[in-house]
Point group: C2
Chain length 106, copies 2
Amino acid sequence: MIEIATLPVKDVIPGFHGRFVHTEYSTLGFWEIDKGAQLPPHSHLHEQITEVREGEFELTFNGETKTYTPGMIAVIPSHVEHSGRAITDCKLLDIFLPVREDYRAL
Amino acid sequence: MIEIATLPVKDVIPGFHGRFVHTEYSTLGFWEIDKGAQLPPHSHLHEQITEVREGEFELTFNGETKTYTPGMIAVIPSHVEHSGRAITDCKLLDIFLPVREDYRAL
């Protein structure tokens, strides 16, 4: 049993505070993001599934910019560039497949 | 963009009502489960990550029975038998890796 609140918080980029669970095949990132924080354009080999849990987060990929609110999910395929911006303070769940070895090392 | 609430509900076993998102490498199951519903012992090749979002769910695997509440996560390895019981009405997120082709066919 893992209690998310007990996991250490890693400040990965400015304004992005994450708790991570690494399983055999995936990494879960439970993010608390400060209003106005910017996710610069980037890509990675991992498929990424993003669920907004609180607040509003703007996400851009595949040429589209959309505002995500709770109950919405983005599926960002492997190697697809994406960027984002926290419109409000928000909480997100990211699921990365496979494991983010770079986050394991944080 | 996927809005979870717009997805069709599949009644997979008695008391388990699920909405599913299938990505390239995973299936997400957003469950609403009736109080008292039983998850019979079973196993599958998929790694399963279970997060309780509302209510209380009792989960048994690897010889341990524990009650999960919001903020808790179970990581059930591939092929490990597990069973469960909804102590209250509850909501769970299951992440299955790889895709649950059997759920895609529901």
